[in-house]
Symmetry: C2
Subunit: 434 residues, 2 copies
Amino acid sequence: MSNQGTNLDPWYDSYADRTAGLSASEVRALFAVASRPEVVSLAGGMPYVSALPPELVSGSIERVLSKNAAMALQYGSGQGTPAIREHIMQIMAMEGIRGSADDVVVTTGSQQALDLVTRLFINPGDVVLAESPSYVGALGVFRAYQADVQHVVMDDEGLVPEALRESIANLTAQGKRIKFLYTIPNFHNPAGVTLSWARRLEILEICRSAGILVLEDNPYGLIYFDKPAPQAMRSVDDEGVIYLGSFSKTLAPGFRVGWALAPHAIREKLILANESATLAPNSFGQFVITEYLDQADWRGQIDVFRGLYAERRDAMLSALGEHLPSLSWTKPNGGFFVWLSLPEELDSKAMLPRAVKELVAYTPGTAFFADGGGAHHIRLSFCYPQPEMIKVGVGRLANVINGELDLLRTFSGARLGKVAASRPSITTPPPNID
Amino acid sequence: MSNQGTNLDPWYDSYADRTAGLSASEVRALFAVASRPEVVSLAGGMPYVSALPPELVSGSIERVLSKNAAMALQYGSGQGTPAIREHIMQIMAMEGIRGSADDVVVTTGSQQALDLVTRLFINPGDVVLAESPSYVGALGVFRAYQADVQHVVMDDEGLVPEALRESIANLTAQGKRIKFLYTIPNFHNPAGVTLSWARRLEILEICRSAGILVLEDNPYGLIYFDKPAPQAMRSVDDEGVIYLGSFSKTLAPGFRVGWALAPHAIREKLILANESATLAPNSFGQFVITEYLDQADWRGQIDVFRGLYAERRDAMLSALGEHLPSLSWTKPNGGFFVWLSLPEELDSKAMLPRAVKELVAYTPGTAFFADGGGAHHIRLSFCYPQPEMIKVGVGRLANVINGELDLLRTFSGARLGKVAASRPSITTPPPNID
C-alpha cells in the first residue's frame, strides 16, 4: 500500500469508477442545520408521523407478536410476503391499477426500488430522462450508476410532451441510448405540479413508440387535497411502466417498506436483484404493516394526513402571497412541496447561509438538477412544521430575499423586481405550452 | 418496441450488462422444497428464532413506542442511529475490536454491507479473492458487479496462506487487478472451519504488502461452542480491514440490521452508498434492537443460542459418524454448517432430486463456487431442525448416498468407497499444509 493512495485514504486508488459519482447531496448537509430547534426548516421531506396514533401501530405489533412472532423475526422471501403484496394491490386499485400480486416486489423503501431498477437497466453512459427539476434521491442513484441524466422541461401541467419528443429525437440523433423516463406524475417532488391525464396518455405513447421504459414514482398519490390525481400511468400500460409505491407517506417511513409493480418479464430480475442486495426486505415491518392494513382504519388515517398537509399547504400559499407577492410559485394539490421561482439575480444556494442565519432553511433548486440548473429556484416543504411556523418561516425567507435584492440594488443600481412572476415554465427554457 | 426484445420480454435488449450476472441461486430454489413439512431440511441457513422469547422483543417494542415512537417511525440517518452504533462497538469489543462508533455504518443486514462494499470497489473484471468454498450470497453479489472471483483453497485451519500468496502472484503476473479478499474467518459458511490466529496475522500481512483490502465477514463469531474463536482480524488492523457484523444470528434476522466497521476513509463513502441505496436503514428495527440491548439479558440469550446450536451440531456429527463412517466432514466449533465430502463419483447436485424424494434436503457444494467446483461436496445445516430430526435427516441422506453408490457399482463395477476420507484439503487441490 505504501505506493498507493494518499495520506488521507490509503485506498484512494482502489475504488470503482462509479464511486466518483457518490457525493453528499445538498439535502443531506441540510439535515444537520434543520435539526436545530430554533430554525424553521422548510427543507426536509419528513412526513409528520406524530399524526399517526402510536396505539394503531402498537396494536398491530402486539397481534404480530402473539400470532406470527417466529415468522416476523425470520428471514423472508426476496419478493416480500404474499399477504402484504395482496394489500398493495388493493392500495394501487385506488389509482386505477389492476394486476397480479405476483408482479409486486417489496423493497427497502421505494428508494431501493429506484436503485434496483437502475441497476438492472443502466450501463455507464446510458441516458435517463428526468423531469426538470427531479427528485434529488433519484438523481443520486442515477449518478451512482453513471447514467447520463437529461432533463425535460415541465410546466404547471407537468412534463411537457413536445419537449420530451424533441429530447428523444435529439438524443437518438446523437447516438445515445435512452433506457427509461423517470417521472413523478403526482404532486411532484420538488415541483409540486401534477401531470394531466391527457399528457399521461401522450407521454406513454411517445415512450412506447421510442422503446423507452417509464419509471412512474408515486409516493404522494394518495396525499391529495382538493381532488384525487388522475389515474396512474400504470393503469393503462402493463408492459411499459414500472410503478413505484411506498408506505412512507401514508403510514410511516421508519419501517422502510416500499414496492415496485413491474412488467412480468422484469419482475423476476427485480427479485433476484433484491435478494442480491439485501436477501429480503425486513419481515417485521411487512408483518406489522399487513396487520395494520387488516385491522386499522388506514383509509381514515390517510384522510387525517391529507387534512393536516392541506392545512399546511394553505398556510404556505397564503404566507407566500402575503410576504412575496412579486414572485411566482406552484400551487400543489397534494404532496409535500412548493417550488418557488426567485428573481434571476438571486442564487438560492449562495443565499442559504444567510437564510440559516435568519433561522429559516430551504433546499436550493440546484439539488434537483443533474446539470447545474436550478440556481434561481427553491424547494419549500410544508409537510413537517406546524402551520404557524410555516408562516414564520416564509416571513423570514421573505426578509432574506428582500435583503439580498436590496443589497444587489445598492451595488448594481439595476432594475429588479417581478422578473420571475410571468414565466411560463417552472424551470428554464420556455416550452410551447403555457 | 416492436423491433426489440422477444415475445417473452419486450425489454430483453434494454438490460444493463451486469444483469446477465443475476441468476437464481441454488439455495433459493431449495427454499420451496425445504418448506414442505415432511422434508427434513438440512439446506437453509435460518436461525432458530423460536428460541428467542417473544416477550424479550415485545418488552423492547413497548418501551420504544412509549418513549420514542415519532423517531422510530421516522426516516433516520444513512449511517444508523448513534445509540445502536455505540452498542455495536461493545459487541465487537468481545472479539477484541477497539475503535470509534463513528466508523460504524448500519446496513439492511450484513448482506447489504457486502453489496455496498462491492459497489464501492469493483469495476467489471476486477478480482475478488474468496475462500474455496465461499458464501453463496456473497458470490451472488460479486457476480452482480461483474467481479472475477478467484477461489483460494482452505483446509481445517481455514484459508491457506501459501495458496493465497501464490494466487496473488499468479493473478498479478496476469495483469489482473485484485481489489479485496473476502473471508469468513469464524465457523465458515459453508465449510464450518475457523481460521487460526497465526494464519490471521499471516494473511493480513500478505494482503497489506499486496495492497489488497480484507473484507472480514463475521456473522457467526459469537455463536461458538467449545471455546471462543480467535480475535477478529480487524482487532489488529484498522486500515486494511472492513469488518461486517449482523444481528441476524445473535438476535433475529427479521429486522434486517447488520453493520460494517470500515477504515475511516472508506466509511464516508459507505454512508453515501447506503443513502443512495435505501436512504437509511429501518429506524424501527434499530430502535427496538437498541432497547433490547439496553434492557434484556442479550448475553444470556446468546448463551441460549450457543447451547441450542451446539446440541444440534453434536447430533449431526454423531449421526454422520453412525451413518456415513467412510466419508469425511468438518467439525465446526460454532456457527451453523458442516461441509461433507462425498466420494468423487457422486455429483451432489444431480443427487438432490433423489434426496428430496427421500425427504431430506441439503445444499449442493456447487452453490459455493464461482467456477463450477464443489460437485463432490454438500453443505449440511444443523441450525434449524430439532436434534432428533437432524438424525433422521442424516439417516435419509446416508440411504441416498449409499443407494447412488450401489447404482454406480452395479453399472460400472468400479471399486468405490473411502475415496474422500483421507484428503488433506476440504476442497480440491491439496495444499502443503495438512
